[in-house]
């Protein structure tokens, strides 16, 4: 079962062993089957895309990975061992971070504070220490601030550091959200439509950041995206879903030439 070989991508990056494996995942809401017996894996260091027409169950899949939904059947193998049923915050503490389709930033806080919330899983000082702002709490605050500042530098949002998030334009909010997820230094980063609603320029920026993140920190990324051009350019392997079923899985080229996938996207005469 355990496969640690990996593979080498077209551009020569070495992809590692399996980080997370979905085994026969089924998700039902009452009588509706949102996800039907899907299995695939995400390997260390790769950019894995999940695509499919609207309502295919992509976001549900992401919600299962991040612990927001519990699968009705099947299990997840994370870092080699089956993941028990757990709360979303526990999943986050195991190194899974995500962004959201509709921006879910904390509007009342500054960019800096928002990104700092991404570090909460790494901060452990007690209430008393925080109340007097001395010793552990203060050291922790400073150490984590350094990490956060690196992320802020990396995503080029230094100039809006102290701006309340509510005042920012859409594209920047998306970037701040990415910063918050990155600040957690996740082993697996989930991006739910990172480019939705962006213009070409913003998409280019975002693509560059996604590639840089993968390149620089070696972060494994799983993303959902509708823009086919972006998906095919960015990702190493693609899972295609339609009506809750997996209809294709492979490199972008393989998927592009898969008849089922073409049918699902273009429609087919019945």
């Amino acid at each position: 079962m355990k496969d640690t070989e990996g593979y080498v991508t077209e551009d020569g990056r070495q992809i590692g062993g399996v980080l997370m494996e979905m085994q026969n995942i089924t998700l039902r809401f009452g009588g509706v089957v949102a996800i039907n017996d899907i299995s695939f894996d995400i390997r260390e260091g790769e950019i894995r895309a999940i695509i499919g027409p609207n309502g295919a169950g992509k976001s549900s899949m992401l919600n299962i990975i991040s612990g927001f939904y519990t699968p009705s059947e099947g299990q997840l193998i994370y870092k080699g061992s089956p993941r028990p049923q757990m709360k979303p915050y526990e999943v986050a503490r195991m190194g899974v971070a995500r962004t959201f389709q509709n921006i879910a930033l904390f509007e009342g806080m500054t960019v800096l504070d928002n990104v700092m919330t991404g570090r909460l899983t790494h901060m452990k000082s007690g209430i008393l220490s925080q109340a007097v702002w001395w010793g552990k709490a203060r050291d922790e605050e400073l150490a984590n601030r350094e990490v956060v500042e690196k992320v802020i530098d990396f995503l080029e949002i230094q100039n809006i550091r102290k701006t309340p998030v509510g005042r920012l334009p859409y594209g920047l909010k998306k970037r701040v959200e990415l910063a918050r997820a990155l600040a957690a230094e996740p082993s697996l980063l989930l991006l739910d439509e990172p480019m939705a609603g962006m213009n070409v320029e913003e998409k280019e920026d975002m693509s560059r950041f996604i590639l840089d993140v993968n390149d620089e920190f070696g972060t494994t990324i799983a993303l959902i995206e509708h823009d086919m051009g972006v998906v095919m350019d960015l990702s190493d392997r693609v899972v295609v879903m339609d009506y809750g079923k997996k209809i294709g899985d492979g490199t972008p080229d393989e998927v592009r030439n898969n008849q089922d996938v073409i049918d699902a996207y273009l429609g087919v005469a019945h």
């Binding site: 879910a104 904390f106 509007e107 009342g108 919330t117 709490a137 957690a184």
Partner: protein, 358 residues
């Protein structure tokens, strides 16, 4: 011109995260503290202590407690007065059961009882939000006031049904009860409030504060980035109720001198809520501004007509008072929904670049 931050460079994150990164703020605070600790006590009359200084501090503390819960953690509560009551009754019981206990220690301990009860009534917040939660806390308000009335053990079975603050001495000075002088009580209140404010500022700007604000702004996202919502909400209830409880103990022991159960009725809850809203939800300084307005305005309205020689009966003053305070609340909510604190922040922002706004 006087509030310019140009030229104040930070060379470390430590300096940037200092309590007052802007030098002028620190100076202003020093001035305010000097007034509070030296100038007011030296110049204030008995009347000023009793009608302005002490109540402003106590109300500001109560509002700060509520603000932690409602303004920072986003959990609406209408039970503040009841939790103040818990603090006051707990303090009374502590002092009568252990007469040797240091009164300040008793006041600080009484908050713990309030915190416990606050957590118990905070448990519904794990399931319900917003207005529905407000109704749940309203249940606390009515239940606890009823309990203060019916449970005679709380007021030591005395005939009046009220608690009477005994004379308590500390280091040779009367600090509570009829014997105590206003200035001593003022200093006790001021010391407690100053310390609590510092602790609150630290809590709200640190990890816990960010946890609360994340819970307030978007709870689902908060949970998905690793925040345990139950812990976040219950710590907010605990800390908020602790502060509110301490303020309740101060309210009775350092100011009113006696309390009946209906002192802690919903009127008081609303009063504290108004202070928090007018001052600014999600701020610490706003509580002071709100308390100054709500406590100070009636006093000013009382004094001004007589000072100007306008004959107005005290009943009319009372009516005017209610009308003006009501109108002001509406006015402030329209002009600046985020309260006086936000106005102050805007002024600071404008001043930083004044007189060249571009």
């Amino acid at each position: 011109m006087f509030y310019r931050t140009a030229g104040q460079f930070k060379t470390s994150y430590k300096a940037d995260q200092a309590l007052f990164p802007v030098r002028q703020d620190a100076i202003l605070l020093m001035v305010i503290l000097a007034f509070a600790w030296v100038v007011f006590p030296l110049t204030a009359s008995e009347f000023t202590f009793q009608t302005l200084l002490i109540p402003v501090l106590i109300y500001a503390l109560a509002a700060m407690g509520l603000n932690i819960l409602t303004g920072f953690a986003g959990q609406l509560s209408l039970g503040t007065a009841a939790f103040m009551g818990v603090g006051a009754y707990a303090c009374y019981k502590l002092i009568t059961i252990f007469p040797w206990m240091n009164p300040i220690v008793a006041i600080m301990l009484s908050g713990i009882f309030s915190a416990g009860i606050g957590v118990a009534f905070g448990i519904p917040s794990l399931r319900i939000k917003g207005f529905y939660l407000a109704i749940a806390t309203l249940a606390a308000q009515f239940f606890l006031v009823w309990l203060f009335e019916k449970w005679a053990w709380l007021y030591n079975y005395n005939a009046s049904g009220a608690i009477q603050v005994p004379n308590i001495e500390m280091a040779g000075v009367w600090i509570s009860g009829p014997q105590a002088s206003s200035i001593t009580q003022y200093y006790v209140v001021l010391a407690v409030v100053t310390i609590m404010t510092i602790l609150c500022i630290n809590l709200t700007r640190g990890t816990l504060g960010r946890t609360w604000k994340a819970t307030r702004d978007m709870d689902i996202a908060a949970e998905l980035i690793g925040i345990n919502l139950m812990k976040s909400k219950l710590t907010a209830f605990a800390i908020s109720s602790y502060i509110v409880g301490v303020s309740g103990a101060l309210f009775v022991f350092m100011w009113r001198g006696a309390a009946e159960p209906n002192l802690f009725d919903i009127q008081l809850s609303f009063r504290v809520l108004f202070i928090a809203i007018i001052g600014g939800l999600g701020s610490i300084m706003g509580n002071y501004l709100g308390a100054i307005l709500i406590v100070g305005l009636p006093v000013v309205l009382n004094i001004v007509p007589s000072a100007l020689g306008i004959p107005i009966s005290s009943a009319t003053v009372e009516h005017l008072n209610i009308m003006i305070v009501g109108a002001l609340i509406i006015f402030f909510l329209i002009i600046e929904p985020h309260g006086l604190n936000q106005l102050w922040r805007l002024i600071r922002e404008k001043l930083t670049i004044w007189p060249f706004p571009h």
